[in-house]
């Protein structure tokens, strides 16, 4: 028997599982071979330990708890199944009928056109205060409709606003003239009053005409002109 055959038979030899003849052969080799004898002693000592303390080493102190922890770890690592996606519609995603949709699109088109027209008008047309008065005869049908709806100001409204602004300016210059007037000589005072009366006469004339006929664009233009003259006269005399 060589050493390799001996070492493979050591474990059954120690467990008394070998044939008596083979056990004698192993025993004889171990008596002659120091290295195999050492291996046999090592294995024997391991067997001895297993027999005495093996129960404590192999069995965990609280095996049910350990198994629950293991079980929990395994369950947590298992991915949940993907959520079930709703069933995709196959044909239409809206719930409107075709006439409803057509009406909606038409409405959007009308509203956007309306705002575009208003925007262009407002952008391209200067204000009445800067560009003078706009005649009502120049008003387009669309502007008349929008004016009646209150979406844009009518020429008359713009005109009234313009006159109100002019009146504010006149009031301002009037106040300044009132401060200076006491220092004028008599000739200056008389000339100022005389010409102011002439202008006021025209202002009254056009104001009356416009009360009777608000559509009289020529009178509106003339009123604008004489109010400007009045403002200029006041301004000229405010620094005397």
């Amino acid at each position: 028997m060589n050493c390799e055959e001996c070492r493979s038979a050591i474990s059954p030899f120690l467990d008394n599982e070998l044939e008596p003849a083979l056990a004698d052969t192993v025993r004889g080799h171990l008596a002659l071979c120091q290295e195999c004898a050492a291996v046999c002693e090592d294995i024997a000592s391991i067997f001895e330990v297993c027999r005495t303390d093996g129960e404590d080493l192999l069995t965990p102190p609280n095996s049910p708890a350990l198994w629950r922890r293991i079980s929990n770890v395994i369950e947590s690592e298992i991915k949940p199944p993907p959520p079930v996606e709703p069933e995709q519609p196959t044909k239409r995603f809206w719930r409107f009928s075709l006439p409803q949709l057509a009406t909606g699109f038409a409405l959007i088109a009308v509203v956007s056109s309306l705002f575009t027209v208003i925007g262009i008008r407002v952008y391209s047309r200067p204000e009445a205060s800067t560009a003078g008065l706009r005649s009502s005869s120049e008003e387009t049908t669309m502007e008349k409709v929008l004016g009646k709806l209150g979406l844009i100001s009518t020429p008359q409204q713009a005109r009234d606003r313009h006159f109100a602004e002019q009146q504010k300016a006149i009031d301002y210059w009037n106040a300044r003239v009132a401060l200076r007037r006491a220092e004028w000589d008599q000739k200056t005072r008389e000339a100022f009053d005389r010409n102011m009366r002439v202008i006021d006469q025209s202002v009254a004339q056009y104001t009356n005409i416009l009360k009777q006929d608000p559509e009289d664009d020529l009178s509106a233009e003339m009123l604008d002109s004489v109010l400007t003259d009045k403002m200029n006269l006041l301004r000229d005399f405010s620094d005397l």
Binding site: V198, S202, M222, D239
Partner: protein
């Protein structure tokens, strides 16, 4: 009896002497009471005259010299006159120069300028006269009352404006030019060449007295019950705007 003729002749002589002395005194007082201001500036081409008076008559005449001559007659209390020559513009501003004074007398200007001068004159009250200029601009404005007389004008931009008083224009209508005449109460008379080309908007809302004279044969529209006349003559390259709130408008052939 012989005394009477002698006494009579002596009395006549005394009266003559007294009258002569009174006349001399009157002229002397007048001469002493009025002051004169005179100044001359060399004028480059296209010089501009900018004059603002408070009261008095301003007369501007074109002449054949390259200089601007300013002569002012100052009535008492005499105003300060301080012309400035600012790089080609002669500026006289009596309102500014006498800002703190309210008692200044009339100042009558006679200003002679080269023919090509641009004239911009203004007064609070008084007459304005401009003649013999053909620069780019003639502007005359009276804040209150006074007549504006523009004669022999060849400018391409003309503006005349007053409240009370007449406006008279006698001059060319330059092709592409702009002409504006506006009064509140007075008469506006325009004397222009028959071959002038212009578009006109003439408005006399109160009187409706708009006389186009020989220019009445063009393309004319009456607007607002005759309160406004819109017309085109020739190729219509120049623009005329005439407004008289309470007076008349008349066109004459030059």
């Amino acid at each position: 009896m012989s005394f009477c003729p002698t006494f009579s002749s002596q009395l006549r002589s005394a009266l003559k002497l007294t009258a002569a002395a009174a006349l001399v005194a009157m002229f002397s007082i007048s001469a002493f009471s009025q002051k004169k201001f005179s100044r001359t500036y060399p004028a480059p081409n296209n010089v501009r005259l900018q004059l603002m008076n408070k009261s008095g008559t301003v007369t501007v005449e074109g002449w054949n010299r390259a200089e601007v001559q300013i002569v002012a007659t100052l009535e008492p209390p005499a105003a300060n006159v301080a012309p400035q020559n600012l790089s080609g513009t002669i500026v006289i501003n009596l309102v500014k120069d006498n800002q703190s004074r309210s008692d200044i007398g009339n100042v009558n200007f006679l200003v002679r300028v080269p023919y090509t001068t641009m004239v911009d004159i203004e007064t609070r009250m008084g007459n304005l006269n401009v003649s013999n200029v053909r620069g780019g601009l003639v502007r005359a404005r009276i804040s209150t009352e006074g007549d504006i007389t523009l004669t022999n004008i060849g400018a391409s931009a003309v503006s005349a404006e007053n409240v009370t008083g007449d406006i008279f224009y006698d001059g060319d209508i330059v092709a592409g030019g702009t002409y504006r005449f506006a009064s509140t109460r007075g008469a506006i008379n325009l004397r222009i060449p028959f071959n002038s080309s212009f578009r006109v908007v003439a408005t006399a809302p109160s009187t409706r007295n708009i006389s186009l004279g020989v220019f009445g044969g063009g393309a004319i529209n009456y607007i607002g019950d005759g309160r406004r006349v819109v017309g085109k003559f020739g190729d219509g390259s120049a623009t005329l705007s005439v407004t008289n709130q309470q007076g008349s408008i008349s066109f004459f052939r030059r």
